[in-house]
């Protein structure tokens, strides 16, 4: 969070309540802001005041770099079953990250029974069922296929589920909304393989199965499989890591993560869905009527302010930058609005380009806090016109038992001591 007391008064005229400023302000004054604080580095030939790390040779080259030892808090938060340490989730620390790419080691995890160690030469992908020519492929063969890259988010259907709780959860935003991550995935358009195997016209679903201990299986609608689904082999330039599905996984941009089957080994083309445990018992949303929504694949628009957010402390009144993430499984984020008065007035945030479909979009807005308590919110609108709902609206529609697909507006109370708290407001 930048803070500077040295801006011309003109630019400090709020554009909405609570001290929200024009989203272009930081762009106009980028240089001035960047320069602040450099004074202590002034060069001195004697060097007495220069830091120690300038006076001894640094560490050696490394085969694989690691984050700074001072960034120990930028880690995944684990929540696993005590009787089965491989069964659980780990959360991306969204509150510690900037930009739109999640580092591979921080991509969230959901494993049903641990991370398998798969030997790439022994792994096969098999396509069978309603194909005229069932085939199997080795990784070596697949690596010769034409590939494309695309950046998109992967979000668990159960992300943000604490939002359904009666009381607002007090935890850093990453450990509330961090079952969502965003990467550049590279792989083979699945349609190429489906064509090669001769997908038959009566096939309506593909049952996808992983090679984990539990053979996680789920049904994928054929329309999506033929549209933008990728058989991904690389994540952010390197081969997919074991916990993300090495040696191959499905990527279905915008669809809940459970369909993005990791360690993919089998695709069975069929007429009707399998009705697997993870598309009936789980990843369905019970409504107050007693009926449940099923096959709720698309992750609706969501936005989260990542800084400032609970766990951070504002250091007194002054200028700050609000920064956050927005995404929509339906398409591109068209607009993000921020409120600093609990939703009475809203100001548009600056959206970081390029704006990509079904991808994390970074939004930012300058804000001058006068030290008074207030409530921060953000809301996303996507290019279908869908607007992220208020919590009360979502609950009126769905009740509170659904567990999955919580995407309501999130509110933080800023206290006069500079601390932040998650609130329902």
């Amino acid at each position: 969070m930048n803070r500077s007391p040295t801006l011309p008064e003109d630019d400090l005229q709020p554009v909405a309540g609570g001290g929200l400023l024009d989203r272009r302000m930081f762009l106009r004054h980028g240089v001035a802001l960047g320069g602040a604080g450099l004074g202590f580095l002034a060069f001195d030939v004697g060097g007495a005041d220069l830091p120690l790390w300038m006076k001894t040779p640094g560490g050696p080259l490394t085969h694989y770099g690691q984050p700074s030892p001072f960034e120990k808090e930028a880690i995944r938060f684990l929540s696993a079953n005590t009787q089965a340490p491989g069964h659980g989730v780990s959360w991306t620390p969204l509150h510690r990250l900037e930009g739109t790419i999640t580092p591979n080691g921080l991509h969230f995890e959901r494993h049903h029974n641990g991370v398998p160690t798969i030997h790439p030469e022994q792994h096969r992908l098999r396509l069978h069922g309603l194909f005229s020519k069932p085939i199997q492929l080795s990784l070596e063969q697949l690596l010769r296929y034409p590939m494309i890259s695309r950046q998109c988010f992967v979000e668990c259907g159960g992300n943000s589920h604490a939002g359904w709780h009666e009381e607002p959860i007090q935890t850093p935003v990453g450990y509330f909304h961090g079952l969502a991550s965003s990467s550049e995935w590279t792989g083979i358009p699945l349609s190429i393989l489906l064509d090669e195997a001769g997908l038959q016209p009566e096939a309506r679903w593909l049952v996808a199965e992983g090679a984990d201990a539990g053979a996680m299986n789920v049904s994928i609608p054929i329309e999506k499989a033929l549209d933008d689904t990728l058989l991904a082999l690389y994540q952010n330039g390197e081969r997919i890591r074991p916990e993300q599905g090495y040696p191959m996984r499905l990527i279905l941009p915008g669809f809940e993560a459970v369909l993005n089957v990791k360690w993919l080994q089998r695709l069975q083309a069929v007429k009707e869905p399998l009705m697997s445990r993870n598309e009936t018992a789980k990843y369905t949303e019970l409504e107050p009527s007693g009926k449940a929504r099923q096959f709720t694949f698309v992750m609706e628009a969501k936005s989260i302010i990542t800084q400032p957010s609970p766990g951070f402390q504002l250091k007194g009144p002054g200028l700050y930058q609000i920064s956050g993430l927005a995404w929509s499984g339906r398409g591109t984020i068209r607009r993000v609005e921020v409120s600093a008065d609990g939703g009475r007035s809203w100001a548009p945030a600056a959206l970081q380009e390029p704006l990509l479909s079904k991808c994390f979009t970074r939004f930012r807005l300058p804000w001058r806090w006068d030290g008074a308590p207030l409530i921060l919110k953000s809301r996303a609108i996507d290019d279908t016109g869908y607007q992220q709902p208020e919590r009360s609206t979502l609950i009126a529609e769905r009740g509170q038992r659904g567990y999955f697909h919580y995407n309501a507006i999130v509110a933080f109370a800023v206290e006069s001591d500079g601390s932040l708290r998650h609130v329902y407001a």
Partner: protein, 191 residues
């Protein structure tokens, strides 16, 4: 989300070319050079349907995929107590893992969603136990064991009697209490 009919589906490697089409001035397909899905090298090794039989462990609601074998709840109880209670509790309740038993109404206050009141198909129990349970040794159960455990869970939930045999014919015929409890959001004009 629109649902193209099966017949409208393009059938070749040109498919990507056909999605998201954008014509400039109605003439120049600008995207054609950028987005054409290249032909694959077609390296897939053809695989006769029979050779996948052992690897195919999918079980569908119509019974497709159910193997030979049989079991009753009486037999399943012994198996369950030996293999499952450690995580799921005696009689499938009160363990560290999911509740497997419960028939409280789904429109009541905070109902547990269990095999008994929530799962729409009995075949799913077989499919899931065979591939995933016990958690510490998946794919270790014989077909008879899986039928017996499935029968026991159905019995604990008051759906079959303790002596009713579950097999490839009887299991798919079991009517689950919540069979009609779901509606599909996909394909119904929404998300």
């Amino acid at each position: 989300m629109s649902m193209p009919s099966p017949s409208s589906r393009p059938r070749s490697g040109l498919r990507l070319l056909l999605t998201g089409s954008l014509f400039i001035g109605g003439i120049i397909p600008l995207w054609a050079t950028l987005e054409a899905a290249p032909e694959g090298p077609k390296l897939g090794v053809s695989m006769p349907q029979e050779s996948i039989r052992d690897l195919d462990i999918s079980v569908f609601p119509d019974g497709t995929g159910l193997p030979q074998g049989k079991g009753t709840a009486v037999e399943g109880k012994t198996q369950f107590e030996a293999l499952c209670t450690g995580c799921h509790g005696v009689k499938g309740s009160g363990g560290s893992a999911e509740e497997l038993v419960g028939r409280s109404p789904l429109n009541g206050a905070r109902p547990d969603q269990t095999v008994g009141n929530y799962w729409p198909y009995a075949t799913t129990i077989f499919d899931y136990i065979r591939r995933a349970m016990p958690l510490n040794a998946p794919l270790s159960l014989s077909y008879d064991q899986v039928y017996a455990l499935t029968a026991y869970l159905l019995y604990l939930n008051g759906i079959v009697t303790d002596t009713e045999e579950m097999n490839a014919i009887t299991l798919k015929a079991v009517q689950m209490p919540n069979r009609d409890g779901f509606y599909s959001v996909w394909g119904n004009g929404g998300h």
